[in-house]
């Protein structure tokens, strides 16, 4: 299976965009998941609902919202333009779109992972004088690693396959924002392009397989290190 030059560019770009999307979505996702798992506060149900919005709204709507905010004419986009940090029509914009769409999945997975950690261990750590940061990074996070890795794999898959929000926000610009899903869409929209679309689908499947296997290997190695049963 040989890819054309354009398709290779699209594949590499998709990998770059998805990786950046997940890497940037992770810290806020951890913070939100921890808040949801461990804290009670006024407006918590509203907070939860807002976090899930990208899952509920049609991706095109999310794309338009990002365009309105981060486009050249957007409130935040204008400021970024002045600072020469513009993300409109750039791969960083594609990464933001993919990150926003993958974010709810990451939060849900991480929240489950944190809730599964025995709070009694966290209490014990507190009696030993550990502050909230030490408890989180030393106890909660290491013990929620399985869920974390699973969530990352899921989020990466979602970010990699992201189409609607991306093309609406940053359009398709070869080398910058023309990701593999967009290349696939173009083939589907061309009469007789179904064969090429199938070829790219195999490529996407291969990426998904590698990501899943990678995650499983990480988990197995981690479990072996801490003497736990896989």
């Amino acid at each position: 299976m040989i890819l054309t030059h354009d398709e290779t560019v699209a594949l590499v770009l998709s990998l770059k965009v998805a990786s950046a999307a997940v890497a940037c979505a992770l810290p806020p996702a951890i913070a939100c998941a921890w808040l949801l798992a461990r804290k009670h506060f006024i407006g918590k149900p509203v907070f939860e609902a807002v976090l899930l919005l990208p899952l509920i709204l049609p991706p095109v709507v999310t794309g338009y919202a990002l365009l309105a905010l981060f486009g050249h004419q957007g409130a935040i986009g204008r400021v970024l333009d002045v600072l020469h940090l513009s993300i409109a029509f750039r791969w960083t914009g594609a990464a933001l779109a993919a990150g926003v769409m993958a974010f709810p999945l990451l939060v849900v997975a991480l929240r489950g992972a944190f809730e599964a950690v025995d709070r009694k261990l966290e209490h014990a750590a507190a009696t030993l004088g550990a502050n909230a940061w030490r408890i989180f990074f030393g106890i909660t996070l290491p013990l929620s690693l399985r869920g974390l890795v699973a969530g990352l794999a899921l989020a990466f898959a979602r970010a990699f396959g992201e189409f609607g929000a991306t093309i609406t926000f940053v359009s398709s610009i070869p080398g910058q924002t023309r990701t593999l899903p967009i290349a696939l869409y173009e083939l589907l929209e061309t009469p007789g392009g179904e064969g090429g679309a199938l070829r790219l689908t195999w490529v996407a499947l291969a990426v998904a397989l590698v990501a899943t296997l990678g995650a499983a290997t990480l988990l197995r190695r981690g479990a072996r290190g801490s003497g736990q049963d896989t």
């Binding site: 014990a124 507190a126 009696t127 290491p142 801490s226």
Partner: protein, 224 residues
Amino acid sequence: MIELDFSLTRGEFVLQLALHSEARALALFGDSGCGKTSTLHVIAGLLKPSHGRIVLDGRTLFDSRAGVNAPVAQRRVGMVFQDVRLFPHLSVRENLRYGAPHPRDASRFDAAVQLLGLGALLKRKPDELSGGQARRVAIGRALLSQPAALLLDEPLSNLHREARAEVLEHLRGLKRELALTTILVSHQADEVLSLADAVALLDDGRLAALSSLPEFAAGLQKGR
């Protein structure tokens, strides 16, 4: 010096304690469900009483009238839980050092390891330890966090006979070597007799009696 004067309601159960003791090692004695473990959790800061005062060796840990409620991490109480609670992803050495991650020197560590006979276990993981070994590691971990007071929740429970004897011996050794205010929870008289200087008898969330060790022993002889 131990001063406990608080009230706590958990559902149907009401725990109301008022006691003052100058003993170095105080035992909270009573049947299961009388509030002994809850009292330890209150002292540690894991449970918040509705009102009251808790003072240990002149340090006020909780005072509802003065608005004092020291966070758990700042109470400097080393707690050994009944369900042990060793961190499963850390080695014995890492568990021990959790309470003092940056010690100025290694002598405290070495002394605690020596005192509790943990030298051969340092590289193991908690799931590779026997009940008695795990209990000793938990004690060592609590000690190494340099607490101002030690809280022991049923330290000999769920141990078979040899392990009980082993841990008891180590605890006696600790009592001899260290002058640390200790509050010990137990429902077994022999633990209390070996380790305590004074005994608070709890019954259904209330203090039934506060006695010295000889008085307690005498009471046992008479069959209470």
